[in-house]
């Protein structure tokens, strides 16, 4: 039960962060990626602010033997930089630019802008389903 409550609260704070930072606004995100046009640099602060927090907190958290409410940390173990990673990142960046949505803001927009989410989210899940079978 504890881990459900902590996950719920973490989710709410994440959603709040996406709104406060305006990441939920796809026009803003596209403006951030449009560095050769009318560039809106503010999302650097979003990434920067988030990364500074995780860089510091991760150091301390991972000194623990285990998380507070589960038995173990579940962290990605792979360190291999391969074609899948690169191709995946290229495709993700392409999709991100085409709409201004990455998965988090895309999901939140199910409630904010359902006219767009009703196209984006099913396409996202179909893409993920296709991606499972792709061996790059």
């Amino acid at each position: 039960m504890q881990r459900l409550i902590t996950a719920l609260i973490a989710g709410i704070i994440f959603g709040a962060g996406l709104v406060v930072s305006e990441m939920v606004n796809p026009v803003k995100v596209q403006g951030f990626l449009n560095i050769f046009g009318n560039w809106d640099p503010s999302l650097i602060l979003v990434m920067g602010g988030a990364v500074v927090v995780t860089l510091i907190s991760s150091r301390f958290i991972l000194r623990r033997v285990a998380p507070m409410f589960t038995d173990s940390f579940e962290l990605p173990v792979s360190t291999i930089i391969d074609r899948r990673l690169i191709l995946g990142a290229v495709l993700f960046g392409l999709g991100w630019g085409l709409s201004g949505y990455c998965p988090g803001p895309g999901l939140v927009n199910a409630l904010i802008n359902p006219n767009e989410a009703i196209v984006f989210i099913p396409a996202l899940l179909i893409g993920a389903w296709i991606g499972k079978g792709v061996s790059a």
Partner: protein, 142 residues
């Protein structure tokens, strides 16, 4: 340009960082939205992991929705084809690349994972190129 950057962007980023730190400290899990979503959808019988994923995503959606300013301007009339292509590319890309803005960009870099640093640089560049071409040809995304 610099004076146009709202400080709220920094506050929002810090909130995202706090959320990711909480999920790591309390639950030992990475706050990567794409990974959480896909594992929930494609692995729904893992009941031990399913419920926290669902709780996190519900919190994310409802939290974002409830805090939305009333004067938030919805984008209207955006190309449905671009939205569909975007969803497909984001879905395939984040699945085979194992992460998105949150998993690689926020959590992975926080853990100083080389894969995440490379992925973040690549998807940022790819996004920049995409929007540059898009705005040149369509005026969209400008």
């Amino acid at each position: 340009m610099l004076e146009s950057i709202p400080i709220s962007a920094l506050y929002g980023g810090i909130l995202i960082g706090i959320s990711a730190s909480m999920l790591l400290l309390f639950n030992g899990r990475i706050a990567g939205i794409s990974g959480i979503l896909y594992r929930l959808i494609f692995n729904p019988f893992d009941s031990n992991e399913r419920n926290w994923r669902l709780a996190f995503l519900i919190g994310l959606m409802v939290g974002g929705y409830l805090l939305l300013p009333i004067d938030f301007e919805l984008r209207e009339g955006y190309s449905q084809i671009l939205l569909a292509l975007s969803g497909l590319a984001v879905g395939i890309g984040t699945r085979i690349g194992n992460g998105c803005t949150s998993g690689h960009g926020v959590c992975g870099i926080g853990l100083m994972a080389s894969r995440s640093i490379v992925a973040t640089i690549v998807f940022m560049l790819s996004g920049i190129i995409t929007v540059t071409i898009l705005s040149a040809y369509t005026g969209l995304g400008g």
